[in-house]
Amino acid sequence: MSAISIDTVLQVALSGLLMGLIYALVAAGLSLIFGLMDVVNFAHGELLMLAMYATFFLNLWFGLDPLILLPVVAAIMFALGVAIYRGLISRALGVQFNRGMVQIFVTFGLAIFIRGAAQLAFGGDFRSVGTSWLANRTADLHGIYVPLPQLAASAVCLVAFAGLFALGRTEFGRALQATREDRDAVALIGIDRDRIFAIGWGLGAAAVGVAGTMLVGFYYVSPNVGANFALIAYVTVALGGFGNLMGALVAGILIGEVEAVTAQVLEPSLKQVGMFAIYLVVLMVRPRGLFGKL
């Protein structure tokens, strides 16, 4: 193998970091919901896909840049998350028999429904945003090329993470943590756990919505786009530790880096091999994940 230049190393490291931050934010939404109520949202990838389509169509109709559309799509996704909780999940939590399986099948069924509906409504074509300030623009940092859409996406993801961490330090964040520790005991202090759960779903969907909005700037959207990202998100959450936000951030970046290095050293089509190899090792050595608590 020929020697690898320092520029190549930096280029690979930067690509991994940029993609890893997006993986991290997608995983953060999943982790938040799981940490709060022990429900794995199998429709998480489909929420990402919906956010990407929402951005695509709003961009198409109004010609607004995804960066401008960010709060709009996040708000739409928040409302959708709340609606999914109120309409489906709260009912699944209320069943008296086989609750765990019911929760799995409800979100799994929702995923299939959303994907099928998207196929029907939008067709199977791959689409990308037509107008964007950052489209096809690249910054040259002393020979290291940084695509601006990716750079902006990862910067937005970092800001979103900062927001989530800041939220955790507020009184509402404490209420989230209390609900997570003992969902029944919060009634003893007058907290409506259903409201907290609904907001948790809203926040989880908004987080994936932010990731989707930025992703559509450099990634084609199609009804099946969520599946790959969802798979990576599940691995990220398990690797970082279920329900741990910092774990999602670190694991997301780690997976982005491993993927970039694997693509460089082996070949791009094998880029996920390294990620799954590390995941299997962590599962064997530390099943609760890097930051998970027993």
Partner: protein, 266 residues
């Protein structure tokens, strides 16, 4: 009902505080001073009839003890009032029915419960546990009861940054009572507050229960230590297999031969 205490019936955000200036005040024409009334309440717990036709009344400002053997339905009684157990019959608090009111709303209406096992938030600090007690309250004085909680339980003030799970059993009980007081209840229900606690701290906690009552919060007490709880209480109800078999002034119950034989081993 004391008129000089800081807790109860105040508009300054202190414990039990209500803007109408009455402690356990009624909003309709129920019996004067009556804050809680149960009529013919039945409830099942885990498939068993835990309460059968229970009727009781609690006057504002008193301590009412509920005594009985294990499995008599004492805890189910408190959980039923708190809205955690489906029931038949009537539960009136402050003149309003609590039927089908969800548990968090029961708390917001002024009924605090310190459950068996305490149910603290173990990984949150003592301060966070206490402050969360005031989560649903609004206004600048929402944290005012903190001062009174620290007065009742000075140990909590010394352990503010400690995680709840690192406290001793007695301290956890103090924290659970403190957290409930932060919701500014007019009725505080305590389920076995002495359970799993060192004897020295049991005395402190029972003494604190008396002081909470003196500050104007009505108390419904379920306690295994019969002699101490009857000494503390104004009135008592004896439960047996889900039914009230005796009620009256606590001193009379404590003197009853049947009760002394059955529960005090005398």
């Amino acid at each position: 009902m004391p008129s000089d205490g800081k807790i109860g019936g105040k508009s300054d955000g202190t414990l039990g505080g209500r803007s109408d200036g009455t402690l356990g005040g009624r909003s309709d024409g129920g019996k004067a001073g009556e804050i809680l009334r149960l009529d013919n309440v039945s409830a099942s717990y885990r498939g068993l009839k835990a309460l059968q036709g229970v009727s009781l009344a609690v006057e504002a400002g008193e301590i009412v003890a509920v005594v009985g053997a294990n499995g008599a339905g004492k805890s189910t009684l408190l959980r039923t009032i708190a809205g955690q157990v489906a029931m038949e019959g009537t539960v009136m608090f402050d003149g309003q029915s609590l039927a089908r009111v969800p548990p968090h709303q029961v708390t917001r209406r002024g009924v605090g419960l310190v459950p068996e096992g305490r149910r603290l938030f173990p990984r949150l600090s003592v301060e966070d546990n206490l402050r969360l007690g005031a989560y649903t309250r609004r206004g600048p004085d929402r944290f005012a009861p903190l001062a009174q909680v620290f007065e009742l339980f000075p140990r909590l003030g010394e352990r503010l940054s400690q995680r709840a799970e690192t406290l001793s059993g007695g301290e956890q009980q103090m924290l659970a009572i403190g957290r409930a007081l932060m919701t500014q209840p007019r009725l505080l229900m305590l389920d076995e507050p002495s359970q799993g606690i060192a004897p020295k701290l049991v005395d402190d906690i029972l003494a604190a229960v008396g002081r909470i009552r003196d500050l104007g919060v009505t108390i419904l007490l379920v306690e295994q230590r019969l002699a101490e709880s009857l000494e503390l209480a104004n009135r008592a109800y004896v439960l047996q297999t889900g039914r009230v078999v005796m009620s009256g002034p606590a001193a009379d119950i404590a003197r009853d031969d049947g009760v002394r034989r059955a529960y005090l081993g005398l």
